[in-house]
């Protein structure tokens, strides 16, 4: 399993935000997406997850390899921690609930309603869902939001174990997850030129840059 992206352009709300993007991500590797707010990190991840089509370019990645984690965790407040995970395990046809609870340090909370979790605990539950999907390519959008330092370290360890088991991760984050082996992809240089600068790419930079 390898993710390969060539000459990709993506749009948000009909506006082209990123273009000319090419990279590869092999099994066992992690890639950190960096860039200022609004550069298109979420749009890129949604495109790779298959939720929206790319404007141009190729994405080669089997859709059944993707586990996508967005800002929203997809939790049901009136279900317990274990019920939430069991649902996603059943949808994905796996039985890794117990292990996921252990790895994300949620065992003590397993019978608590998701409504009664703190923001950080909800986030941990949302990330535990990645483990029950049993999928290889993790697409993570700001996974560490509202996690404390200990939980960030815990999650860093989970990602490292996932990589060691042959998985891969594409992570949009501003926080250091402690993944020494991860490469960083700076999205700033791929920002699409504004239409006002004339459809011709790069004119604006040539004149004013």
């Amino acid at each position: 399993m390898e993710l390969s992206v060539s000459d990709l352009a993506v749009a948000r709300g009909g506006l082209r935000v990123l273009e000319g993007l090419s990279f590869r991500l092999a099994a066992g590797r992690a890639l950190i997406l960096r860039g200022p707010n609004g550069v298109g990190k979420t749009t890129l991840l949604r495109t790779l997850a298959g939720l929206q089509p790319p404007l141009v370019g190729q994405v080669s990645l089997p859709p059944e390899a993707i586990a996508y984690a967005a800002h929203a965790d997809g939790l049901k407040a009136v279900l317990t921690v274990a019920e939430n995970l069991e649902f996603w395990a059943a949808i994905h046809g796996t039985d890794r609930v117990g292990r996921a609870l252990e790895e994300m340090n949620l065992v003590a909370l397993r019978n608590r309603l998701a409504a009664n979790l703190s923001a950080g605990q909800k986030r941990r539950l949302g990330l535990a869902r990645l483990l029950v999907t049993g999928r290889e390519m993790w697409l993570l959008d700001e996974p560490t939001v509202s996690l404390d330092a200990a939980s960030v370290a815990l999650f860093g360890g989970v990602v490292r174990a996932h990589l060691a088991a042959g998985g891969a991760a594409l992570i949009a984050t501003h926080i250091d997850l402690g993944l020494a082996e991860a490469e960083v992809l700076e999205l700033g240089p791929y920002r699409a030129k504004s239409p006002a600068a004339g459809g011709a790419r790069g004119d604006f930079d040539e004149v004013f840059g």
């Binding site: 949604r46 997850a49 298959g50 939720l51 929206q52 089509p53 859709p63 059944e64 993707i66 586990a67 996508y68 967005a70 800002h71 929203a72 965790d73 997809g74 939790l75 049901k76 009136v78 279900l79 019920e83 069991e86 649902f87 996603w88 059943a90 949808i91 994905h92 046809g93 869902r129 999907t133």
Partner: protein, 218 residues
């Protein structure tokens, strides 16, 4: 698929799930209409089939926007769209869950409310049969409408406007079955048309709804 169905049923039953909403509305309507119309003559018995069908339809409409809106808001819909389950199956299962928590209870309670509305004795069997045949169509058509407005903030009004015209044939044939049945006439034609609507909606609309969701998730 079973997992999604049991989750949706569980969510509907637990606090804030809106399980009793449609049922309570149906009950209120059937209690209030006789008070408004009055007891004289056979008026009440004559309009009972129409009132019961209109009530069931509006009760169904009340909970439609919950089918996808809640899953959209908490991000589950994105995750379901990337899961191994085809979106068409997600729509079909969610419509089925909606029918089980609205259509089935409405069908079961309708004969009791028929008594309140002075429905002629011959009509009861046809009332239950027509609701059992017709309410699945209401849920599937409603799921299609809900898929069209998913992502629209407070899309309830838009949803009602979109769905009501699509409900009209179901209403006409459903009420016609009960009217004819109560009057002791032949019911085969409206009954077959009602079943046809349900089958066609169930066969086609999950695909249309899944396409609408894919566009709305972009």
């Amino acid at each position: 698929m079973g997992a999604l169905l049991s989750r949706d049923l569980r969510l509907a039953m637990r606090a804030g799930g809106g399980f009793g909403l449609g049922l309570a509305f149906f009950l209120l309507l059937a209690v209030l209409v006789p008070l408004g119309v009055g007891p004289e003559g056979g008026t009440l018995g004559r309009i009972a089939p129409g009132i019961l069908w209109v009530g069931a339809l509006l009760a169904c409409l009340l909970s439609l926007d919950r089918i996808f809106a809640l899953d959209f808001e908490d991000g589950s819909l994105d995750l379901l769209a990337t899961s191994p389950m085809p979106l068409e199956a997600v729509v079909a299962v969610k419509a089925l869950a909606h029918w089980m928590v609205t259509g089935v209870p409405l069908t079961l309670v309708a004969p009791v409310l028929g008594v309140l509305l002075n429905l002629p004795v011959e009509g009861y069997g046809w009332l239950v049969l027509s609701l059992a045949l017709g309410t699945p169509a209401l849920s599937v058509i409603g799921a299609f409408g809900a898929a069209l407005v998913v992502g629209v903030k407070r899309g309830g009004l838009l949803l009602s406007l979109l769905v009501l015209p699509l409900y009209v044939p179901t209403l006409i044939f459903g009420a016609e079955v009960v009217k004819r049945g109560a009057a002791g006439l032949e019911v085969a034609v409206p009954l077959l048309l009602l079943a046809g609507i349900t089958l066609a909606a169930g066969a086609l609309l999950p695909f249309a709804a899944a396409a609408a969701i894919r566009i709305n998730l972009r």
